[in-house]
Symmetry: C2
Subunit: 278 residues, 2 copies
């Protein structure tokens, strides 16, 4: 999916919502757990219920890997299901991979060619080598961890680099631009709990999409995020996982998930209008 198509989706659905399929086997409704493919069945129901309101699904690989190869199979099947039924929705593999040289190419191939995800999250600790192979794919996206929503982001990301005075996350943004991470093939993860920092991020990458986790369970505010993070085209994809997918534990879980997604979409529509984006 390219930049233009993503913008079209945002306009069409009046939404910049990403639903995180963090489909923890211990949190999905009890009655599904005895199924042969419980996570896949859960995901299908959530996808069918929420697709009209979302522009992206994000699959956190940890929740699939914890089920061994059967989990991996359900991860792949979920992606196939989205691609077949909702080809206009961006599929993000939230894998936070990051390796070098030949290994990095293998990861790019694994997620973009074999799994056919549209986007994959990558950690930049090892520098350019861990990012570059992902940039070679047309209409695929690398989403680079930048300023994360967790408390211990301060262990590294918000310290200063002596050589240039930048904060580490600012430095990493500038580096990414040097590496060729243009706005039509790369995004950055910026936590919603750091809404004001979005201003500083926007100074360096005005046109890039930012993937914002931390709305809902991690209690960031959508209004704050839009205030500091919007660019003239929107430029945000905001993720919510638990607040939607685990909103009910009963048979009505797809219906309740749908209501929660709709609620988010309506908030987003209001904010998009207020900012004259739609």
């Amino acid at each position: 999916m390219n930049y233009q198509k993503l913008l079209e989706q945002i306009h069409k659905k009046k939404s910049f919502l990403c639903v995180g399929l963090d489909s923890d086997i211990n949190k999905i409704p009890q009655f599904l757990r005895e199924n042969i493919n419980p996570i896949l069945d859960f995901n299908k129901a959530i996808i069918d219920a929420t697709a009209p309101y979302v522009v992206a699904y994000k699959l956190n690989t940890a929740f699939y890997e914890v089920l061994g190869y059967e989990g991996w199979l359900q991860l792949q099947s979920t992606i196939n299901y989205i691609k077949f039924n909702h080809p206009d929705i961006l599929v993000i593999a939230d894998a936070k991979r990051g390796d070098i040289g030949n290994t990095s190419y293998q990861y790019a191939k694994a997620f973009f060619e074999i799994m056919d995800a549209d986007a994959v999250t990558v950690a930049p600790y090892m520098g350019k080598d861990s990012v570059e192979p992902f940039l070679k794919y047309k209409d695929k996206w690398i989403i680079i961890l930048n300023l994360t929503s967790n408390e211990s982001a301060s262990d590294l990301q918000t310290l200063h680099i002596e050589e240039n005075g930048d904060l580490v996350y600012e430095h990493m943004l500038k580096k990414a631009l040097e590496w060729g991470a243009t706005c039509n093939k790369s995004m950055f993860v910026v936590g919603a709990t750091k809404a004001e920092s979005l201003m500083f991020v926007r100074k360096i990458v005005p046109d890039h999409f930012l993937l914002i986790p931390g709305i809902g369970a991690q209690s960031g505010s959508l209004e704050e995020v839009a205030k500091y993070g919007f660019n003239e085209y929107c430029g945000l994809i905001v993720n919510n996982s638990r607040g939607i997918i685990f909103a009910s534990n009963e048979k009505d879980f797809p219906k309740v998930a749908r209501e929660k997604a709709l609620e988010m979409q309506q908030k987003m529509e209001e904010i998009l209008r207020k900012n004259f984006i739609i």
Copy 2:
């Protein structure tokens, strides 16, 4: 596997060699590629041939994930094979994961409980949250990326932190100690191409094991690494992948891998003796 047992293995085998099972489907001998489980068959042959000379096997997950869920199955089967036949050898899942909170716990569970690896590599960009869940397991190891062997490590790892004057990798070592990454449950990845930097690493973590990639294909020198990296108990695990597992492409590949592993072991024995470690 605990610290003491790892030391015993080093003494018994007179080796600190790790063989990297970077078993690229495009590089294993042609005649194996039509097998139902080509990677598993390749790995078993390499393991049977080299086990007497190695203290650890490192499985780089990228080369398995690129084969989809069947790759994941062969990854798991390889680990099962090592654990059953060579329970004294450390199994490292070179996964370079790194996430936060609940997700980080899922990764720890996936690799330590489900996959039953002894150790897993983790990227520290997100700070304490991405490391802590792995420290809660007894006799399991987290191996934290610190100073990697690739050129673009200089994009971040070898810059200075303004707040304390440390290089980023030094800062991350000190942070890890604060997080409780003691030497009986954590190691650090330090590239062999940066042998002199091992001196600075050793000042901060004198007792920890260091996992050293970059010998062989990436052309680090074993003598240099030992000179700057040894502590009185050895304290190093040195990895070689391609130089051993792909030393021959023919039917004789296990025999040639055995010879290459033996050659490395003999060099290591000599260096261990010279340094009065054995």
